[in-house]
Subunit: 300 residues, 2 copies
């Protein structure tokens, strides 16, 4: 009505294991969603352009003026083109100002990751920064938990992401599940809430996570937990340690913003409830879409 | 001189990855030592008798009255014959009374493992109980650390092993080294003492081992530690967490008895020194031999 031309946007979340694409209106409504298990490590011959074209070539062809914004590991050294890290503290504007244009690809832009350092140690993220700003929208102070293979805990102050920490929870879980002595006793991965909560409770006790994990084996050997419940018990142990350790490290005031989907959302919500920490839940995929939209809006 | 007939003993330490044999006098002097990388998981067709015969058949043939005593995972369900666990608290006499004779094999005896439980949780060991009693000899009160794939911390009171805890330090280390994102940045496994001690120091800080482990990646990414030192840094992190967590759990009075050999002995001694915990070191292999001798002496 204002004479402004409304153009859809193509928003891409391209991580290590998956490629997800959203055709979104300027108002943030999702017109169409597509997903393929073609993470950056699975792209044949590193031909990222061809992989993108296979998934959303028609969207780009329909209207070549549509901007394409990509976040995640696609902007890493192992990805399409490296988008150098932006230093924390960083706000949405800093990220938007540091987008990297893919040469000879028209309006294709990569979101940079974030780097935090205190001069002795460093932290990095790629992709989660988009979710953080997508989850918060107008909120300018928050502590967020983004669970995953490498969970991120982020602190936002004055609308800027000031610091964050990474916990290898998902990788430790998968590693113990698939390679070690613990996985051998397990039978399936049924969602056993009682066993999961036992693991959360166990994480409150002394001894450390490497000691508590051995208890998964003996709980199986002495039939204290059925084989179908052992994976849930192990999950509770590692998630419980993550949440307790990060609450102690970040000492959040007020509710944690949990940004997650599916099984992760369920598990972490249970963990926070059991531990007695207030939590506000934002869907992880919705946060990605909102965040990518917000980055584009800040850029355009 | 006393008219007593002196017979040598054949002592065997048969674990998951190695088979070690010692021909020992009744006084505990080692006449000969043999070792093959034929752990119980590597025995063809589970023919344990044949494997034992290949290694020490000549020792048995020379004098068929020589007793053969085996400890370790060879007495587990996956081993030759299962020697049921003896319950803690247990002394040397309890172990000697529960030896299992291998049928049709003459004087071949298996040492049982130990089981500890408080009614809610359980712990198991197989092989370390022999080292504990071998390391202590006449000492009746001690807290021992036996590092390994699954490190054991044991408390002995009144000459009996009353409780113990397992920490999956070695398995977590190997798993992260060989399967995950951390191993990719590593280059060799040079013994970098400075990096190892940095890891020990890091383990004293908040955040937990799963958070500190991710720091191995960023230390590599940002050149804070050279690629050759990253494995040592990671080792320091996991060993440091084990030692601190177990000191907090067991609250030992006085020095810890460290039972270890080779690289483990070196690493854990450094860790205890750095943390400022007094330690007394007993060679792991010597403890095995002395322990097996003591079990036989208590039996005969």
């Amino acid at each position: 009505m204002t004479g402004r031309i409304h153009t859809e946007q193509i928003l891409i979340d391209w991580g290590t294991t998956n490629l997800r694409a959203y055709l979104v209106t300027e108002d943030g409504d999702v017109v169409e969603r597509r997903e393929v298990p073609e993470g950056i490590m699975q792209v044949p011959d590193r031909r990222f352009e061809a992989a993108l074209d296979r998934l959303v070539g028609d969207w780009r062809h329909e209207d070549s003026s549509r901007p394409v914004l990509l976040s995640g590991m696609v902007g890493s050294r192992q990805g399409w083109i490296e988008a150098p890290y932006v230093a924390c503290p960083a706000g949405l504007d800093d990220i938007a100002a540091a987008l990297i244009r893919v040469p000879a690809e028209g309006r294709v832009l990569l979101v940079p990751g974030l780097h935090w350092s205190d001069g002795r140690r460093d932290e990095v993220m790629r992709g989660e920064e988009v979710q953080v700003f997508g989850a918060l929208r107008e909120v300018s102070e928050a502590t967020l938990c983004l669970p995953g293979t490498h969970s991120k805990w982020a602190r936002v102050e004055g609308g800027r992401l000031v610091r964050f920490s990474t916990v290898m929870t998902g990788e430790i879980y998968a590693s113990m599940r698939n390679h070690g002595i613990l996985g051998r006793l397990m039978n399936g991965e049924s969602d056993d809430e009682t066993a999961f909560l036992s693991g959360i409770d166990r994480s409150a006790e002394a001894g450390g996570v490497m000691h508590h994990l051995f208890g998964v084996r003996t709980a199986g050997l002495f039939d204290r937990i059925a084989p179908e419940g052992l994976a849930s018990y192990m999950s509770g142990i590692v998630v419980g340690h993550e949440v307790r350790d990060m609450l102690a490290l970040h000492r959040p005031q007020g509710a944690i913003t949990l940004v997650a989907s599916g099984r992760m959302k369920k598990a972490y919500r249970r963990a926070f409830d059991r531990i007695g920490a207030a939590v506000e839940i934002i869907d992880g995929e919705a946060a990605t879409i909102a965040g990518l939209s917000a980055v584009l809006a800040a850029r355009l």
